[in-house]
């Protein structure tokens, strides 16, 4: 490994069951001077317990306000090859389906013009290309667009929309998450590349309440697949599960969060009126239970990680919406939200925080939505929805 004056503390991070980023940096360092210096600077940081990165705020490509995250070393004399180490975010295809041929092309560009190190994928969902210099940004952008890739979002813009694998490989998808993701990405190119909001805005599309993209915790707008009618039950298949040793009473009925199920050793009963669509029973007995056929999505708003203020989970905005192209209902609502938030939001205020500040009732009024009982998590505990007496 690279010669350095500090003890090598990174080797310990190669132990354990999980793939190690240290091992990958080591591999890349065989051919990439950038990766070699990255290893050295990182090891120095682990020894000194000090980060040695400076965040750059100006670098980018002409015309775009996002997609490049500037990074400089504060030890450029010691580690000259990471003096510039900018990150590029590349808009991933919906649900991360690639042809191997395209991945090779991306990697070839990055090995030629960057460190060769990638992060597949970042928490935003984008392809993250780690480490390049300012003069390489425009050539990389040109080469990536020539093979059909574009930069993703960063800064105060709509971030790259992302979704679960959806109907491409999952039987629980209540709507086509990939199609909606692609449509929103293309519709809102301007909002993606030209930051005009108070802060970031993320869409995440989940096909069912299992929410494999964790949209309820990570997206300003979570669009989660749901059904309105009754769970479909194949009673023979339920009995088969019991015969094979599944303790339905304990594992399924006993763990139903709303206690809306009953099992008499012959038949399973579900009080669908009281079902919260948590998917637990369906996940456990997937051969016997299926979601209903009246399918769509619930739109939720406001979740975020704890940067700036505390973490928030999304709240219900629209309990049920059929998700069909050209998605005019969603876009109309989104445009109203953006107009209000862009106009009235404070600098670095996420839409969830904005709603907390102005109050949900005022927010709903301003975007033209009527209050719904589903917006309330616990009756009488959320005093922000008021009903007028006629």
């Amino acid at each position: 490994m690279p010669e350095q004056k500090f003890p090598d503390k990174l080797q310990e991070l190669k132990s354990g069951a999980w793939p190690s980023f240290v091992k990958e940096i080591e591999n890349a360092a065989q051919t990439s001077p950038m990766a070699k210096d990255l290893y050295g600077q990182l090891n120095q940081s682990y020894n000194e317990k000090i980060g040695h990165w400076k965040h750059g705020g100006i670098v980018g490509v002409l015309g775009y306000g996002g997609g490049v995250i500037g990074r400089y070393s504060d030890l450029p004399e010691t580690w000259p090859n990471v003096s510039h180490f900018h990150t590029m975010r590349i808009n991933q295809p919906a649900a991360w389906f690639y042809r191997a041929e395209d991945l090779r092309k991306v990697c070839d560009i990055w090995e030629k013009r960057g460190s060769g190190l990638t992060n597949m994928h970042g928490s935003t969902g984008d392809i993250i290309l780690l480490g390049t210099t300012t003069p390489e940004l425009e050539p990389i952008f040109n080469e990536l667009t020539a093979i059909g890739f574009d930069l993703g979002g960063s800064g105060s813009c709509m971030r790259t929309p992302s979704c679960c694998v959806g109907p491409a490989r999952c039987e629980w998808a209540m709507y086509d998450t990939l199609a909606l993701t692609y449509d929103l990405t293309m519709t809102y190119q301007d909002e993606l590349h030209r930051p005009a909001f108070p802060y970031k805005f993320k869409f995440k599309m989940a096909g069912c309440p299992n929410d494999c993209v964790a949209s309820i915790a990570r997206a300003d707008m979570s669009i989660i697949g749901i059904w309105r009618d009754e769970i479909q039950i194949d009673q023979d298949a339920v009995r088969e599960y019991a015969e094979r040793g599944l303790n339905i009473q304990s594992v399924v009925v006993g763990r139903c969060p709303t206690r809306c199920m009953a099992w008499d050793s012959k038949e399973l009963f579900i009080d669908n009126e009281n079902c919260s669509r948590c998917m637990h029973c369906i996940n456990v007995m997937h051969r016997a239970l299926r979601p209903g056929n009246d399918r769509g999505a619930t739109l939720l708003i406001g979740s975020k990680a704890p940067i700036m203020e505390g973490a928030l989970l999304s709240s219900v905005l629209v309990p049920f919406l059929e998700i069909v192209p050209p998605y005019d209902d969603i876009k109309g609502l989104v445009n109203n939200i953006w107009e209000l938030w862009a106009e009235e939001g404070k600098n670095r205020e996420r839409v969830g925080e904005f709603i907390q500040r102005v109050g949900l009732a005022n927010f709903l009024d301003a975007i033209g939505l009527e209050p719904e009982p589903e917006m309330i998590a616990f009756p009488r505990e959320n005093p922000y929805v008021f009903y007028r007496t006629e």
């Binding site: 705020g57 100006i58 400089y72 000259p80 105060s156 813009c157 301007d190 030209r194 802060y199």
Partner: protein
């Protein structure tokens, strides 16, 4: 219907604002849009302001920067930048 201000004129006005404020205040896209509304009233709308910002950025007269949030500034060398070796 009032005579709308041209995109070019709005872009020039925005550019002056950003240039005058360099080093003192950072403008976000919405700040510029609001400033134009204040200045021109209903002779400027959202579409014109948006097009003016696009013109400023695409021509290279202004750049987007990121310091916590995204701003529109005159191109300059930032303090954090290392010279290219």
């Amino acid at each position: 219907m009032p005579d709308m201000v041209s995109v070019a004129e709005v872009a020039d006005t925005m550019f002056k604002l950003v240039k005058q404020a360099a080093g003192l205040k950072k403008y976000k896209a919405m700040d510029l849009e609001k400033a134009m509304r204040e200045l021109y009233g209903d002779r400027v709308d959202k579409a014109v302001s948006k097009a003016a910002i696009k013109e400023l950025i695409d021509s290279g007269r202004c750049v987007y920067t990121y310091f916590g949030g995204s701003y529109i500034e005159i191109p300059h060398t930032e303090a954090a930048a290392n010279p290219q070796g």
